[in-house]
Amino acid sequence: MTELHHHTLAELAAGLRARRFSSVELVTHFLARIERSNPELNAFITVTAEEALRAAEAADKRLAAGEGGPLVGVPIAHKDIFCTDGVLTTCGSRMLSNFVSPYDATVVERLARAGVVTLGKANMDEFAMGSSNETSWYGPVKNPWDPKKVPGGSSGGSAAAVAARLAPAATGTDTGGSILQPAALTGLTGLKPTYGRVSRYGMIAFASSLDQAGTLTYTAEDAALLLGAMAGFDERDSTSVDTPVPDYAAALDQPLAGLKIGVLKEFFDKGLEESSATLVREALAQYERLGATLIEVSLPSLPLSVPTYYVVAPAECSSNLSRFDGVRFGYRCENPADLLDMYTRSRGEGFGAEVKRRIMTGTYVLSAGYYDAYYLKAQKVRRLIADDFVRAFARVDVLMGPTSPTPAFDIGAKVDDPITMYLNDIYTIGANLAGLPAVSIPCGFVGQLPVGLQIIGPHFAEAKLLNVAHGYQRETDWHKRIPRGYE
């Protein structure tokens, strides 16, 4: 028998419209699943059951009146990086463990207006700094496919919640792969839109020139639905781009014949596990069968993306996180001896080890005498990388490669070695540095662990990316698999 949590977001939306079930039923169903499984998975930091049921009742009224768009009444989870008015918003940090946001992020506001119901706030790496969801003050998140494994990060709670069918979709944010990598590690469709496509207002900043909000869903069709409601110009974000939002769902079924796919040579390097490489190559072959042409593309500067990122992102974060000083909000240490003591202990105690490491890295690369050698140099290499992509998109429609070098790894395996951990994002960082949209879709399993195929497009080519992803998902069923124990 098909249960409510077996449906995609698009199917649930259609079911609500057809009144086959109510939003309250749907929300109640997912709340029960959260209650049962969250203690094991640790995917949610906060569950907003009461608010969700109230919102569901309101949605049912709108549905009964035939009002609103396609998303009225569907529940989702928000990554706890998005400020939600009146709700604890922690960003996975002790620093904000007492922070009740007095306002809604634009993403939260837009989805609420579209009738989407928030089930709760998903766990995440502290301030989105991490690739395994192990840096959260609220503890690690388990991968539903194997509880000994990480779900990826930083949007690990969002990914685990959706993969375990505790929520039919979730928002995430991506600075260096924080949507794509967990999507790959949990068998989901992850979408990171073009920088500037979705407003950053109310999304707690990690690295402002890289951060972008996106989605974790079962299908490209679900992503198209959510993105349509999230995207668009926001006058409160100076980096938000004032360009029309296309009908993403309408473009899904375009034929893929004639599609020129660039296969990223640098992504099939020695770091990529052979079993993952095989699955990605099989997916490429599937595209050829759908009429696409494969063209090998080399982006010579791309191997420098990880070092570039680990200068740019820490530099921006060291400044972005200066506002957490124990004065106006957030954690303040007990009995500060003086002003300096209040600063250093509030921040020293409020931030976890990885956040402190990145703040110090960023402080160093911006400091007098080192700015040119590190920060300015990285900004120049960043342009080389972006230019590589521009040249590639003159030849091909989309670029493809693996999302992550390996499937999900063991919890605790890499926590003591930052460089090894950072290299997890080796394939995803390029898109962030260049501000490009990218999608990860499941393309097979190594044992019981999912593997992701990454598709990168030119700026504002989200409709094309989702069309390409949807074409594959019509022919395959990797995205329909449910982890054992969560059926």
Binding site: F82, C83, T89, C91, L96, F99, S101, P102, Y103, A105, R200, Y201, G202, M203, I204, A205, A207, S208, S209, E235, R236, D237, S238, T239, A315, E316, S318, S319, L321, S322, R323, F324, D325, V327, R328, F329, L339, L340, Y343, T363, L366, S367, A368, Y371, Y375
Partner: protein, 479 residues
């Protein structure tokens, strides 16, 4: 020893007179209850973002055009990182490598009447910080962030000034200019206009600059002069006794009349400037710049030159009357109503009116006598209805009530006597009443002429036309 040369450069901070803050839509008004005008952006809340106020950009460009500066077609906001409780984000959004205004200049007039051009290195936009209040809250400080995010234009001069007086003249000139441009209210007490002074000394004739000290937060012309003079004397003292100057930030203590080192136990500042990723480059095209140019008023120097050339005023008078835009506006309104007589109008605006305003401590815009009423009074001097002396009494009366000059002249019967026969009669009476003085005068004691003028004026209550009195007396006294 007088072999030392002083070198001064100023960094002036002018709060721009926008309605809302530079990066947020909260109000900039002064005097609100603490933190009532600090919104999420001003408070540096997690997740919020800055959006630039167009008016602040226009005002910066307006200033740049007024000092013949280069307006950057592309300028960039940067973050200046440091921790301080009145700085909510832990960084100040400012401009560093690419300011909006570069390479301007301004001419000042020195005491001896000579002119000197002071270079303006740059002017950049930035946000103001909040305030730390040090009244005792159980040994703690209170933070008010209402001021945080108020737009500032930081105007940086070249080290072109050679004395405290020059520095004051430059600062006054900028003060006048920003108020002319209506980009800053210039209120120094409220901190809308303040400056930091970089001061050094070097042996006369030496090309290399000496080590400088920065004196922070000077908010009155008097303090600037005193602080610089103190600092110059201090530096010379140190150098002459064989010491060296340490580059440092100093604070002026107006009570003691001294500067003192702002010693901080913390590390030397390292502001880690980098381009603010939340803001994009500010691109200004010709159309924007020309539209701002179209709003430029007549500048003080242009106005003064016109007063000299067209109105025949002295350089000094023209300078005084153009010291503020409001003063010039008032003066020209009087001239317009009066239909000329520019010199008379100038004397009255600079004399009686300014004295009365000073006495009450009010601005010219709040004058109890508006230009129309003053012109009404001056018109009666021009047409000889009253003398200048009587006019002063009428002025006083006008200051304390709202009657026009004519009504007061009428009510008090102050109209000048110009009827020759009436004056002749009084003269005859005075002569008859003072036979002794008359005899003395006629025997050669010319000085007594004044006595007879006085007697006639006294007898007419000062209303007799002085010129006529003189003429008639001269005729009659000689017999």
């Amino acid at each position: 020893m007088s072999s030392w040369e002083t070198v001064i450069g100023l960094e002036i901070h002018a709060q721009l007179a926008t309605k809302s803050k530079i990066f947020s839509s909260s109000a900039t008004a002064y005097g609100a209850p603490p933190n009532a005008q600090a919104n999420l952006v001003d408070l540096g809340y997690p997740g919020v973002l800055p959006v630039l106020n167009r008016e602040a950009v226009r005002m910066a460009v307006k200033f740049g055009l007024a000092v013949d500066a280069t307006i950057s077609r592309r300028s960039v906001f940067a973050r200046k990182n440091y921790f301080y409780p009145d700085l909510p984000k832990g960084y100040q959004i400012s401009q560093y490598e690419k300011p909006i205004v570069e390479k301007g200049r301004l001419e000042i007039v020195l005491e001896d009447g000579s002119r000197k051009t002071i270079g303006i290195t740059r002017a950049h936009l930035e946000e103001d910080a909040g305030k730390s209040l040090h009244e005792d809250f159980q040994g703690l400080s209170g933070i008010d962030l209402n001021r945080a995010g108020t737009p500032l234009l930081e105007i940086v001069s070249e080290p072109d000034m050679r004395s405290a007086k020059e520095a004051v003249a430059y600062m006054k000139k900028i003060h006048t200019l920003v108020r002319y441009l209506e980009i800053c209210d210039g209120n120094m007490q409220e901190g809308s206009f303040r400056c930091d002074a970089n001061v050094s000394v070097r042996p006369a004739g030496q090309e290399k600059f000496g080590t400088r000290c920065e004196i922070k937060n000077l908010n009155s012309f008097r303090f600037i002069e005193r602080a610089i003079n103190y600092e110059v004397a201090r530096q010379i003292d140190v150098l002459e006794s064989g010491g060296t100057i340490r580059q440092e930030t100093r604070l002026y203590d107006p009570d003691k009349g001294e500067t003192r080192s702002l010693r901080s136990k913390e590390e030397a500042n390292d502001y880690r400037y980098f381009p603010d990723p939340d803001l994009l480059p500010v691109a200004l095209d010709d159309e924007f710049i020309e539209s701002v140019r179209g709003t430029l008023p007549e500048l003080p120097d242009e106005k003064a030159a016109r007063y000299v050339e067209k109105f025949g005023l002295s350089d000094y008078d023209a300078g005084v009357l153009t010291a503020s835009r409001e003063m010039g506006d008032y003066y020209e309104a009087v001239v317009a109503k009066l239909g000329g007589h520019e010199k008379l109008a100038a004397n009255w605006v600079m004399g009686e009116l300014s004295a009365a305003l000073n006495k009450e401590g009010v601005e010219i815009t709040a004058s109890r006598i508006d230009p129309t009423r003053l012109a009404g009074l001056l018109a009666r001097i021009v047409d000889e209805t009253i003398s200048g002396k009587i006019a002063k009494d009428v002025f006083e009366q006008m200051w304390s009530d709202d009657k026009d000059a004519d009504a007061i002249i009428e009510a008090k019967g102050l109209k000048q006597i110009t009827d020759t026969s009436a004056i002749e009669k009084v003269v005859d009476d005075v002569m008859a009443a003072n036979p002794k003085q008359l005899a003395e005068y006629r025997s050669g004691k010319d000085k007594l002429f004044g006595f007879f003028v006085g007697q006639v004026m006294k007898a007419t209550g000062g209303k007799a036309n002085p010129a006529q009195v003189n003429e008639i007396l001269k005729k009659r006294l000689t017999g």
